[in-house]
Symmetry: C2
Subunit: 145 residues, 2 copies
């Protein structure tokens, strides 16, 4: 989930015509109900899901400020635990996430962010999803109809 900060000078042209995000209509009571304190570090996991087909693209973390920036900008903002800084997905890579929906779970300590994923995908490895490796698989037990 890491992204370089791109601090050095570059002769590459900026990404042309990247559309700005569209602010979300919010339920302010629910925004206030997100329980950032439960984890002890002020963060909740944010599961990013592709609006196109439901693929889980990545998991990152948000504090209250990252959620606010996401809702206001219509693009995903996260807080990096390792770098201890805010980052906006795609700002370096061009692989931007435009947000369609933010959902919260029953006890308010996790979020689902439904996005239009632009560019190559969500993963810094170049894969569309960060979850490109299968640890185990089986037939399951189909739900009775």
């Amino acid at each position: 989930m890491s992204e370089s900060t791109g601090g050095s000078a570059s002769t590459a042209a900026p990404e042309p015509q990247a559309p700005i995000g569209i602010a979300l209509a919010t339920d302010d009571e629910l925004v206030k109900a997100v329980d950032f304190e439960k984890s002890g570090d002020g963060l909740v996991p944010a599961i990013v899901q592709d609006a196109a087909d439901g693929t889980v693209l990545t998991v990152a973390y948000m504090d209250a400020e990252a959620l606010r920036r996401t809702l206001d900008s219509g693009r995903s903002w996260f807080y990096s635990r390792s770098r201890q800084e805010y980052w906006q997905k795609g700002e370096t890579s061009g692989d931007r996430q435009y947000v369609r929906e933010v959902r919260m779970d029953c006890d308010g300590d996790a979020l689902v962010i439904v996005v239009d994923q632009h560019g190559k995908g969500a993963c810094h490895t170049g894969n569309r999803t960060c979850f490109y490796r299968t640890v185990g698989h089986g037939p399951g037990v189909p739900r009775p109809q």
Copy 2:
């Protein structure tokens, strides 16, 4: 995500004919590669996704033992941060999760668990998904074709 432990005696009959789970075929190198230590508490978030339609059902936490039980039993096991104990989804409610696939992300600190969700659903509130509340919504910016 809480479940009662059901410790008191009950006259209710046990759920009939619940199929046992089917152990997963695993990639043992990837199992070993899951980074349980990164978070500092030995846990990784496990995003549970419905095999039927990709709905994100819930987020819970696994340590190495919960992952091992999940892979061996073919049913989802988690570790409760608040109760500090293992729990198997549906053991009390009957709303069992039979696992089809376990995926890990690029840096090994998050899992996706694809399941056949039996019973009413994944949430202790009676909702199918724990993510039944919308904090914000908007049109997004569709990916260029």
